[in-house]
């Protein structure tokens, strides 16, 4: 059974969705347990996959058994990096599902089964994107995840949710179509859709081929729209801030990150870093735009008064981090990017979970409404503080270490502008979050608060979130710290994957060592 894990992780989610759809229509109460079962199983299977990959190397799974000649069937290909991202996705899915427990039931009772069907299919689409080894299959799964996320966003109660969803549909379709067109160009020149085969065909091409270059640019632009990279991020803030909390908690951490991951996959496996960095002289440009993305995201975040909007612009900045890191043509930049994909998923999750709790428990939408939150919901704030510290980059959270690796990459490859931008954005994050802390911490001064009798009155006003909301938040906070503490193990895995034969064509990443 173990060799079937790659497909089982998807099937568990798919059948979860189907059963929720069939059984949930009859009895709504089974939706949540079914969803949780499917996600728990998916997490367990992804852990199994990770273990197998670590011990046994790359897993190649040929759907339908069509293994020869390679490319007639669809291949699922899992190396260490995929397995890590897969685990991240399923874990985020599980945590958010738990968080959504009461919310969904209270929001739109009749539509609960529909929500869970879409939710599970979204997680399935994202997981499938990560593990597939076929360029066209990736498009299909991209559409699976896009369509579900359009629907989930449009389910928002806000009047503006539909408008946001519409512009997201337009942008998302342009992005996906560009990707499809890019794959078409690749197919035209290489005659195959299997990622590894495409790579071999590109290596075998005699002389430069403008088709391949255009294909790469198209795929890149398409993914840039999907991951909301500067200057194509206009759709993101509205889409993520007007949707229901339980949607934003899964869409915000995962969609952009998976976009970045697919870009990395394209660079590493499909086109190969040698081709990307040596044939195309885009490094300076891409890092330059990434710097702009970081700065723009940070500055826009400063200007926001709404909590979720602010986080959305921070996502834009974080995407800039990752794209810049990936494009530095540098070992540590790439390692930092991949590590940050995981770290940032949980950081963003933490932010949006906290924001969701604030909205739910206290009706907080704007930052200045947060006063006194430390007293009202100490545990929520504790989780939020951990996430915020990670966003700022305070050790020992994972945010610090990804910045460490990214800055190291920037220094080694001489991208000082990127290093500066990263530091400036850390400072901006510090300003942003301490502004929140300050408001949440001071609140309204207790009128005659003297002596320890205040301690009692403090507790009497506690309006803490329900456990189903609190547990995911605190679990996320713990994961953030654990990712930080065990970052060297993770980085070792990523490095092994990058340097070994798992990911082909990474020789162009300048090796470890002194400043370039």
């Amino acid at each position: 059974m173990a060799e079937q894990y790659p497909i089982i992780v998807l099937l568990v989610l798919l059948f979860g969705a189907l059963f929720v759809g069939l059984a949930g229509m009859a009895d709504r109460r089974v939706c949540f347990p079914l969803t949780m079962t499917a996600l728990v199983l998916a997490v367990m299977v992804s852990v199994g996959i990770l273990q197998r990959v670590i011990s046994g190397g790359v897993i190649r799974y040929f759907v339908g058994g069509w293994s020869r000649p390679v490319g007639i069937g669809i291949e699922l290909r899992i190396d260490t990096i995929n397995a890590l991202v897969l685990l991240t996705i399923t874990t985020v899915g599980l945590l958010t599902a738990l968080f959504s427990f009461r919310r969904v039931q209270e929001d739109k009772t009749e539509k609960t089964p529909l929500f869970y069907v879409l939710y599970l299919l979204l997680i399935m689409g994202l997981s499938g994107m990560v593990i597939t080894g076929d360029a066209f299959n990736l498009y299909v799964l991209l559409e699976v995840s896009s369509l579900t996320s359009y629907a989930l966003i449009a389910m928002g109660k806000s009047r503006r949710a539909a408008v946001a969803a519409f512009s997201y549909i337009i942008m998302g379709t342009i992005g996906a179509s560009f990707y499809l067109l890019g794959v078409g160009y690749l197919y035209l020149r290489t005659g195959t859709l299997n990622m590894m085969e495409i790579h071999q065909a590109i290596l075998a091409l005699d002389g430069p081929s403008s088709t391949i270059v255009v294909a790469f640019v198209l795929i890149l632009v398409g993914l840039m729209i999907k991951m909301a990279f500067f200057p194509l991020f206009g759709w993101l803030p509205n889409a993520y801030s007007y949707c229901p909390s339980s949607t934003s908690c899964v869409v915000a951490p995962l969609m952009t990150k998976v976009g970045v991951y697919v870009m990395v996959r394209m660079m590493l496996t499909v086109f190969g870093t040698e081709w990307v960095f040596e044939n195309l002289q885009y490094t300076q440009w891409m890092v330059g735009i990434a710097v702009l993305a970081i700065l723009a995201g940070s500055v826009m975040a400063l200007a926001q008064v709404e909590l979720k909007k602010m986080f959305c612009y921070l996502i834009v900045a974080e995407v800039g981090y990752m794209v810049g890191g990936a494009w530095m043509a540098n070992h540590w930049g790439m390692v930092g990017t991949i590590y940050h994909i995981m770290g940032d998923a949980f950081m963003t999750l933490c932010m949006f979970l906290a924001a969701g709790i604030f909205v739910k428990q206290a009706g907080v939408v704007r930052i200045d409404q947060l006063d006194g939150m430390f007293r009202k919901m100490p545990w929520t704030m504790a989780g939020f503080v951990v996430g915020a510290l990670a966003m700022i980059g305070i050790p020992p959270t994972c945010g610090f270490f990804s910045k460490l690796y990214l800055i190291r990459g920037g220094m080694e490859s001489g991208h000082w502008g990127y290093v500066m931008a990263l530091l400036i954005s850390s400072l901006v994050n510090a300003v942003l979050f301490f502004r929140i802390f300050e408001i949440a911490y001071f609140g309204k001064k207790p009128a005659e608060g003297h002596g320890h009798h205040v301690d009692h009155s403090e507790e009497s006003v506690i309006k803490e979130a329900r456990p189903s909301a609190l547990i995911p938040l605190l679990a996320t906070a713990v994961i953030i710290v654990l990712l930080g503490l065990f970052n060297s193990n993770l980085v070792e895995l990523i490095e092994r994957s990058l340097q070994g034969s798992e990911v082909i064509g990474t020789r162009a990443l300048s090796s470890k060592g002194g400043l370039g």
Binding site: P395, L404, A430, F442, E458
Partner: protein, 499 residues
Amino acid sequence: MPEVIQTYMPLWACLSALFAVVPIVLLRRETFLREGATFVAGFVMLGFVISMVPEVLAGKVLECTLIEITADVPIKFRVDGQGMLFALVASSLWIVTSLYSVGYMRGLKEHSQTRFFVFFAVSLTATMGVAFAGNLLTLYLFYEMLSLATWPLVTHHQDKEARGGGRKYLAYLLGTSVGFALPALIFCYVKASATGLEFSAAGFLASTGVEGSTALVLLLLFTFGFSKAGLMPFHSWLPGAMVAPTPVSALLHAVAVVKVGVFCIIRVFTGVFGLAFLKELDIAIVVSWIAAFTVITSSLIALTQDNLKRRLAFSTIGQLAYIILGVSLLEDRAVIGSMAHIAMHAVGKITLFMCAGAIFVATGKKYVSQMDGLGRKMPLTFVAFTIGALSVIGLPPTGGLISKFYLVTGAMDAGQPLLVTVFLVSTLLNAAYLLPVGYRAFFPRDRQLSSQPFSWKTTAEAPWAAVLPLCVTSILAIVLFVKPQLLLKLASLMVSDVG
């Protein structure tokens, strides 16, 4: 190489304060037990620290490696003379300050005392972590932790002023550490990750071929990055942070926070670059002059301050710059003087702060100009104040004399007569802003006040819990004059360690 002992003692010393958080939170209703927990933790920590003293004095180094947190660089604790001296000062003064804060907080019926004690304990953990940090990353980690843990203490009053002070505090500390120290740290990491960024007498940067302007920039990044040291122009958070309750000012802004800053800078000089390597590079003189400038300027500003705590804050800035100046001279005796001054100044300054707090608790007076004749009401406090002042100025019979003596002779060794003058001039200025406080208290200009006969019955001291600690520390200042050997031994250990 000194003998290395693997032990978890430094970790326990560090964590003992953190563990105290649990009983403090659990016992939040039972104030008495809650404060008891604080004391127990303090004594446990001091016990751990003292138990390591004999081994350190014997020239051994205690090490403990936790997890390898990033490629090549682990979280590591390492106890040497330098760290031991600092840990000793911090842990022993914590107990004193705890006692004092009990008196102070209760005297003023402050709110949110549990939170206060929790973050107090966390700060101490961070301070211990800095003292025992075995490499640059660990040092930075605990440095940031300290910044964050002290923020709720600084803003304890939760009013507009506290908010402003807290904002400034974080802006300066985080801004500089993320903006300057972090890039420098990562630069070191890029250059010398193979060495594990471990502090060593020869300096781990020495072998990496950093030189010229790069080295200077790096040194300045570190020096300004650890802006808890209050070197100008990044000093103004310190007076701003004086909005904190006085025990906080006392422990954190006379002992823990600022001393962590200078301690980090000393580590950078002695452990990251290495004194020999710095001499070779010939760049430390830049830092010397920045420090000298800070010494003189801050003393002059202190003269103009009427608010006692602000005056003491500026005095602190000057004294910290002394320490940095001393270490930047790169001479053995100057470095010993610097280390010793950390202790001497801590004892002296904490006395002064506690006196300022005691005066505030008893009379509600904050300004020097209001304190005419107070000496008759609070004789113990003002005697202690005077002793503390003498120690800070560097006059006998206090420990300050000894460290200043080492600093001045170190400056002479370095062949910098101008800097010797700086020391001397600033000593005069110190005297000019500190002595008048005690003088006016005992000999008010207003004849009517001074003509009243003194009697113990008319005294109105602060609660005993506030007065006792300041008496203890003032006596300690005198004891350190008589018996400075332990400190000097620890301080010179590190020089021999260095040399």
